[in-house]
């Protein structure tokens, strides 16, 4: 019985954290966010050097062959450092789709380049969690038509695209008939966008005729967003506690006022069980298939609630400073805010959890 992180897992999280502290301090993230850089190439290069893009890709295809718990730990680090990096689609969803639903030839073609970081992948899956503005992609005569919104890791070289029937395709960013439009979200540390398809040539991943593949991918994406929120919320809590330990009012540090201490205790009490929930949900994706989707729904929804609570409360603990751009606390606030909305709102995830249990 061992429910916890192995030494290697702790080491991985520590080294990613250190790397991000060095290569993606808030000043770097600010530049990315304010200048709307397409990609932070230097930061991407740094994480590529330690093999992050190949995290979940088989060793045979140039990756490290690690599991979803490792991926979730990395996502947590990214959230903690509000890192300006593509990860969910590039390093997890696209590689897993190709690995699980691709033909041997497709695996040989895509995986080594994804693993090496030579290719950045986006993912257009949002319509499977509720289509907006009539968006949706359909296959006609072997070509894709339609529109996909809220594409993850938008500034990419290749896209994983789900059709309305939940079949999965790989599409080159420069394919004829594909047009792209960035969407600006509150969280400028990650890129989101829209794809329009007008007879675009696409490669079907043949295994995705079984719609379970797409559903499983959504579950993976949800857990990673939950993990990202966990990291961001932990960072906000830590900053609130630290700030409360230095800021003085009425001749005392504000952290000695019980009202402030209790806000911090409430954040910690809400967040600490989320750590175990995220670990469990991530582990379930790799090892407990019967529970994986249910836990993914609940991890997504519960972290969305706790994350929002902490985003608000930690900001309040900082007083007016929290509301300014000076401290940059808002980068974490917005990171949590975007995670909450992506791949299904909390309410939708809970409704799906109920469906999974036959309760509706």
């Amino acid at each position: 019985m061992d429910f916890g992180l192995s030494e290697q897992q702790t080491l991985l999280a520590d080294s990613v954290s250190r790397l991000l502290a060095d290569h993606a301090p808030l000043t770097r993230t600010r530049r990315f966010a304010e200048q709307l850089e397409a990609r932070a190439e230097d930061v991407w290069q740094a994480v590529t050097d330690i093999g992050l893009p190949g995290l979940v890709i088989d060793e045979a295809h140039g990756g490290s062959g690690l599991g979803m718990l490792e991926a979730a730990l990395v996502a947590e680090c990214l959230g903690r450092h509000v890192a300006p990096l593509p990860f969910v689609a590039t390093a997890v969803l696209a590689p897993l789709a190709v690995q699980c639903a691709g033909s041997p030839a497709q695996r040989a073609e895509w995986l080594p380049r994804l693993a090496s970081g030579a290719l950045v992948a986006g993912a257009a899956l949002a319509e499977l969690c509720g289509a907006r503005e009539d968006a949706g992609v359909r296959l006609e005569g072997g070509r894709l038509f339609g529109r996909a919104l809220f594409v993850l890791d938008f500034e990419a070289d290749v896209y994983l695209v789900a059709s309305r029937e939940a079949r999965l395709f790989m599409v080159h960013a420069d394919a004829a008939g594909l047009s792209r439009q960035a969407l600006i979200s509150i969280d400028r540390t990650r890129r989101l966008g829209e794809l329009r398809f007008d007879g675009v040539a696409a490669e079907l991943l043949p295994g995705s005729d079984d719609a379970r593949h797409a559903r499983t991918l959504i579950a993976h994406g949800r857990v990673l967003h939950a993990a990202d929120t966990l990291g961001a919320a932990q960072a906000m809590l830590d900053m609130a506690v630290a700030y409360a330990g230095t800021r003085e009012q009425f001749g005392r540090v504000i952290g000695s006022f019980q009202a402030v201490k209790h806000l911090c205790a409430e954040m910690a009490a809400a967040l600490e069980p989320c750590r175990a929930l995220t670990w469990y949900a991530a582990h379930a994706l790799s090892a407990l298939p019967a529970e994986a989707e249910l836990y993914a729904c609940h991890a997504k929804a519960h972290l969305a609630e706790v994350g929002s609570f902490i985003a608000r409360t930690a900001t309040e603990v900082h007083g007016g400073m929290g509301f300014t751009d000076l401290l940059g606390l808002h980068y974490w606030f917005k990171r949590i805010g975007l995670n909450r909305q992506l791949l299904g709102s909390a309410e939708r995830a809970r409704e799906e959890a109920a469906q999974l249990q036959g309760l509706c």
């Binding site: 061992d2 916890g4 000695s256 209790h262 069980p273 175990a276 929804a301 519960h302 809970r350 309760l359």
Partner: protein, 393 residues
């Protein structure tokens, strides 16, 4: 990550399941502390090592080495089968571990066996009218007179004092010492002259706790655990055992499953409660929180087995667990509408009024054993390292 307990433990689980299957029918349906059936069941559990498992044989236990996973399997399997896991009063859950920690050899021999066998029922004399959260300001005092302590004062909220044979009690023995250093931990029979127990009725409707008055109660000098003035240390160790019991997510899971059944069964306007999207949303919210606490519990279990720290994860359980449980019961009451407001004795009542009873009882557990606010102080100060409350001299 490895969530399996391994073959040896699974064999232990299988053996226990077989035992419950064969003997479960002998278990009492409700715990009636003095009933022969309850005592016989307790004795059978001890013999088979499913109660008092790690208590040394010389004190009446089964004498097995401490094993966190075996303890967990025992708790899980009795809960799963909904069979009583034996007695679990303040004597067994709090005093016995405290005696094993701080008691003298003579005290262990005198008290552990009868307590374990349910022949000696205990109550906890800690709180006083003016010493609740600020327990260390307690004023009930004991003065040494020759070979006896003479105790005077009053306790309050003393659960099961009306049923108990003995009390473990905090008294002030060093009136001039700073408040935390002047306290001692005494044991005495409730039949000692000068003790008066007056029942207090709780909002649940039972007189499950009491006021206890002491007038010149004479207690033999050696009835103390630990040294004179060490009572605060002993009491705090015991409070750790108490808080460890509160907020257990495995019980919450059983109640959650019962709530799902209730919502499938009950209808309003011909529609099942589970088909009401607003109620279902609340149900799922509670499930999400519950799964987080269950995962947290696995983390604590694992930390115990592997001797790794999980400090904050442990500190939050009482606060979050008792509040979640109260809200779970509250959802059932809301879902039941008017029927949710009925109580004992009423026709139309569902499940014997257990939802209403638990809803109120868990409000009590949010308060008892350290209120939610006190838990938040602990989380902030010990968990997050924030400044301590300024203490008045």
């Amino acid at each position: 990550m490895d969530l399996s307990f391994g073959p040896a433990y699974e064999a232990f689980r299988a053996q226990l399941r077989a035992f419950i299957e064969q003997h479960g029918h002998e278990a009492p349906e409700r715990v009636d502390l003095r009933a022969p059936r309850t005592l016989a069941w307790q004795q059978e559990l001890i013999e088979h090592g499913y109660a008092g498992r790690t208590i040394p044989r010389e004190y009446g236990g089964h004498g097995a080495p401490p094993d966190i996973l075996e303890a967990r399997i025992i708790a899980e399997e009795f809960a799963r089968a909904q069979v009583s896991p034996g007695l679990a009063g303040q004597g067994i859950k709090m005093l016995i571990p405290t005696l094993l920690h701080f008691g003298s050899e003579a005290q262990r021999r005198q008290f552990i066996r009868p307590t374990l066998y349910g022949e000696m029922i205990w109550c906890q004399g800690y709180s006083e009218p003016n010493a609740g959260s600020d327990l260390a300001s307690l004023r009930t005092h004991a003065v040494l007179e020759g070979d006896h302590w003479r105790v005077n004062g009053q306790k309050i909220w003393t659960s099961t004092a009306h049923l108990a044979d003995w009390m473990f009690c905090l008294v002030r023995t060093e009136p001039d010492a700073p408040k935390h250093q002047g306290i001692s931990f005494l044991l005495f029979p409730m039949s000692t002259p000068g003790i008066e127990v007056r029942p207090l009725t709780t909002m649940v409707g039972d007189a499950s706790f009491n006021e206890v008055f002491f007038t010149d109660v004479r207690v033999p000098r050696d009835s103390m655990i630990g040294q004179r003035g060490d009572g605060w240390k002993v009491a705090n160790t015991l409070l750790g055992f108490e808080r460890g019991m509160l907020g257990d997510p495995n019980n919450t899971l059983m109640r959650f499953n019962a709530l799902v059944e209730l919502m499938k069964r009950e209808t309003v306007d011909g529609t099942r409660l589970i088909d009401n999207p607003l109620l279902r949303e609340r149900l799922m919210k509670i499930q999400g929180r519950m799964l987080a606490l269950r995962a947290n519990d696995l983390r604590l279990l694992s930390a115990g087995v592997n001797d790794t720290p999980a400090r904050l994860a442990g500190l939050v359980v009482k606060l979050v667990g008792t509040e979640l449980r109260h809200e779970l019961e509250a959802l059932a009451i809301d879902a039941l509408g008017e029927i949710g407001a009925l109580y004992r004795g009423s026709p139309l009542l569902r499940d014997d009024g257990m939802w209403q009873q638990h809803y109120m009882y868990f409000l009590g557990l949010i308060i008892g054993g350290g209120t939610a606010q006190i838990q938040k102080n602990i989380i902030a100060e010990r968990g997050l390292g924030m400044p301590r409350e300024p203490k008045l001299a």
